[in-house]
């Protein structure tokens, strides 16, 4: 093999001159001291009479108090959704349904800055991400599915569709507004009504969305947004008058839900955990690949079900890639999420930080070699240094279990067959990444990797028109695109 002079020039970032703070103004965001439940078009006090605090994970300061829905509240919301389904939404001409959904999309766009700031305050993600990704993609999702409402007969060859009825939707804390959009938009477009529960740590943008839905004059009860923790979610899953459960979250809870609805006719889509393999071949454009790996694992602090948390590097470029990764790690700005320069914000909660730290300890105990950025961390709030592990064995827990944090496990490989086997050796199958300059190799890899989304020479890209969802224990059903309609219709 011809010797290739490897690129040894280190990226130069003058560390002596740090960037001045550039915080986004919080004036565009109004947060009330207390939020109620959104049921039947009105803000209702919870029958539980209980409220819980929501905090800013970057400062540990309380932002607001959130209502806790109990079984009676869930029942009220489901009843409202059932009535709205039977009396209004199901009967409405589809083109009119579409216009309501378009209206929601437009209103999110109008209030985009407010949503971005609140998302960052409540969840800890960098303002750059909530401003440039979460909020616009959420608006686009409503815009995309609005247009399907009166075109469903074209989506399923030789078949008609019927709505399912009332959809119970439970979403996670990593992309609060975006997940609400992923769930609500296709459900409404297909003629269903909705009871949605955001995660207890990140209720605010969903409740802001409730304000928009109210403003948009959506018929009362078509969308109900109720807040609470696991018990509230369980009450939705077990409610007898719900026809469909859509859940995004951990594989562990997904299995509990699948089991809980076993004796019913409820349809389900489950979008669960992942442990994606990101694979770098020796002919890949390495600098681009390194950027892709960084984005793959550190986007949203690694709180991404499709995060590229396992990296496989072909042996001949292993040292070079690891060195480049370490260099790049040093340049990442970890800190105040509201600062526009921040790359990695706050870990969403104390509980999640504890889980991540537990795995970092496990990784070291298992004999893997840890490298962390030397960056300083803020004194308050929940933060974690971007972390990579080398000397990882396929059987190590950090290579098998979903960590849901900024922790990357790196292994090497020699042949295509070897890396396919290693990449597929996981109960998960949500996503994967491939980096190579060779087209035929890309297609060999993308067809053999058992995962629902495969990124080739890119990573962590999303679009309302692009179906998303897993193989195996990463769940079933798709969200996005024409395939996402399937989750909300009966095909007759």
């Amino acid at each position: 093999m011809a010797t290739k002079k490897s690129n040894t020039i280190k990226l130069k970032f003058d560390s002596a001159r740090s960037l001045a703070p550039a915080p986004e103004s919080k004036s565009a965001a109004k947060i009330d001291p207390q939020y109620e439940l959104f049921i039947n078009g009105k803000m209702e006090k919870p029958q539980s009479k209980k409220y819980f605090p929501t905090i800013n994970p970057a400062t540990e300061e309380k932002l607001s108090m959130i209502a806790e829905a109990n079984g009676a509240d869930v029942n009220k919301a489901v009843t409202a959704a059932r009535n709205a389904y039977a009396k209004t939404w199901k009967k409405m001409p589809p083109a009119e349904r579409a216009k309501y959904i378009y209206r929601i999309a437009r209103m999110i766009q109008e209030r985009a800055r407010e949503f971005a700031i609140i998302e960052t305050l409540d969840g800890g993600k960098p303002i750059r991400e909530s401003r440039d990704f979460d909020v616009p993609t959420a608006a686009n999702h409503f815009f995309y599915y609005a247009g399907w409402a009166d075109k469903l007969e074209y989506a399923f060859p030789n078949r008609r569709t019927e709505p399912l009825g009332v959809a119970g939707q439970i979403i996670p804390w990593n992309f609060p507004l975006l997940m609400a959009a992923w769930k609500i938009a296709p459900a409404l477009a297909c003629g269903n009504t909705v009871v949605l529960k955001p995660a207890e740590n990140t209720s605010l943008t969903a409740l802001k969305l409730a304000e928009i839905i109210q403003e948009a004059d959506l018929p009362p009860g078509v969308v109900n947004i109720i807040t609470g923790a696991g018990a509230t979610g369980a009450a939705i899953v077990n409610h007898p008058d719900i026809n469909k459960i859509a859940f995004t979250g951990s594989t562990e809870v997904g299995k509990i839900i699948q089991r809980a609805i076993a004796g019913t006719n409820k349809k389900a889509t489950l979008e669960l955990g992942g442990k994606a393999a990101n694979i770098i071949f020796d002919d890949a454009p390495l600098d681009q690949a390194v950027e892709g790996v960084i984005n793959g694992i550190f986007f949203n602090q690694g709180h991404v079900c499709c995060a590229g948390s396992r990296l496989y590097v072909q042996e001949s470029v292993f040292k070079e890639v690891v060195r480049k990764l370490k260099d790049r790690l040093e340049t990442l700005i970890v800190g105040d999420p509201i600062d526009k320069n921040t790359d990695i914000g706050a870990i969403n909660s104390k509980a999640q930080l504890d889980i991540i730290n537990k795995y970092i300890k496990i990784g070291q105990q298992e004999g893997a070699e840890m490298y962390q950025s030397s960056c300083a961390l803020p004194k308050k709030g929940f933060f974690c240094r971007p972390t990579i592990f080398t000397n990882v064995a396929q059987s190590n827990r950090i290579a098998q279990e979903e960590i849901f944090g900024p922790v990357l496990a790196i292994q090497s490989f020699r042949t295509d067959d070897e890396v396919i086997e290693k990449a597929n050796n996981t109960p998960y199958g949500l996503s994967a990444g491939v980096w190579t300059d060779k087209g035929s190799k890309i297609f060999n890899m993308t067809t053999k990797l058992r995962a629902g989304v495969v990124w080739a020479n890119t990573f962590n890209k999303f679009d309302p028109g692009s179906p998303f969802g897993g193989y195996k224990e990463s769940g079933y059903g798709r969200e996005g695109g024409v395939h996402g309609l399937n989750a909300y219709v009966n095909i007759v």
Partner: protein
């Protein structure tokens, strides 16, 4: 000197399992007696065990890579070949169906329908992907497309009454889509299922793609649903308790559960590409599109 036709002793057929392209007896050594409605003995049939099922899963998993990796066109040819073989052995199937309480006309109809159904799915092998794929017009500079891919290993319990048509109608869309399967034949009417295995075995279908077991449904169903290397379960009866149990156990590894209790297999609605799609995953692939600054549109 040969005996006269009247006095010639009939050679009885041994009905065995079909696993990995072989015809083993059940490892358990157990058997049951299949009878007709009058209670007359038709045959000794293997009473398949959990171990037989687990062996079949190993065979199905082993065959999955090769079968799913074949050209769709080639899968279509093999399904067509199965239909040809069935056509050639029509008389035997009619005979067995009549032993299992069908009239001659019913038996002929059922076999004909099975042959036609195999031809129907043979044709779909390289077409359903085009109907259910999409090139997605994403807003960023990427080429993005979604295609169906087989779910993997499917464990199915065949319809108990439509002993041949039900079996064929469940197997055909599963394998047309590139999956491999283990299927439990009708307990009371197992004869055709075993003979169908012989048809499969002489049809260029690689061993392990279809594995056929005979045995007791209530004994084997739990294993069909809780095996960790099975990706999907199909059940064709309306028994609510069993349905619930299958769904519960399937949650162990997030199996896809498909219930066919309302399908009328003899109907036109008993076949469609949507049966294929019941055992497909959608894979979406992204790749960047280069945008060269200054390039202008032109021809």
């Amino acid at each position: 000197m040969a005996k006269t036709l009247e006095s010639r002793l009939e050679v009885l057929k041994t009905y065995k399992l079909y696993i990995g392209g072989q015809f083993p007896r059940t490892e358990s050594g157990r058997y049951y007696i299949a009878t007709n409605a009058k209670g007359e003995k038709l045959a000794n049939v293997c009473l398949g065990s959990r171990k037989d099922f687990r062996d079949a899963v190993v065979a199905a998993r082993g065959a999955f890579g090769g079968w799913s990796g074949r050209a769709a066109f080639n899968r279509g040819q093999i399904l067509y070949r199965i239909a040809e073989m069935l056509e050639g052995r029509k008389a035997q199937f009619i005979d067995e169906l009549m032993k299992q309480e069908s009239t001659k006309v019913q038996a002929e109809n059922e076999v004909n329908l099975c042959i036609d159904r195999l031809i129907y799915y043979s044709g779909w092998c390289d077409k359903f992907q085009q109907l259910f794929s999409a090139v997605n017009p994403v807003a960023s500079s990427h080429f993005n497309f979604s295609v169906p891919e087989p779910t993997g290993v499917v464990a199915a319990i065949a319809p108990q009454n439509d002993s041949l048509l039900g079996l064929v109608s469940v197997i055909a869309p599963i394998i047309a889509g590139g999956n491999t399967c283990i299927i439990l034949a009708s307990h009371t009417k197992p004869l055709c299922a075993v003979t169908f295995a012989e048809v499969l075995n002489s049809s260029d279908l690689p061993g392990g793609v279809v594995n056929i077991l005979t045995g007791k449904v209530s004994e084997l169903v739990p294993f069909f649903a809780d095996h960790m290397d099975v990706n999907a379960t199909a059940y064709c009866e309306g028994d609510a308790v069993t349905q619930k149990m299958i769904k519960e156990k399937s949650s162990l590894n997030v199996k896809r559960v498909v219930l066919y209790d309302k399908v009328k297999w003899a109907d036109a609605t008993g076949q469609s590409p949507y049966f294929i799609m019941d055992f497909q995953e959608i894979k979406t692939t992204w790749h960047p599109i280069e945008n060269i600054g200054g390039a202008k549109a032109g021809y």
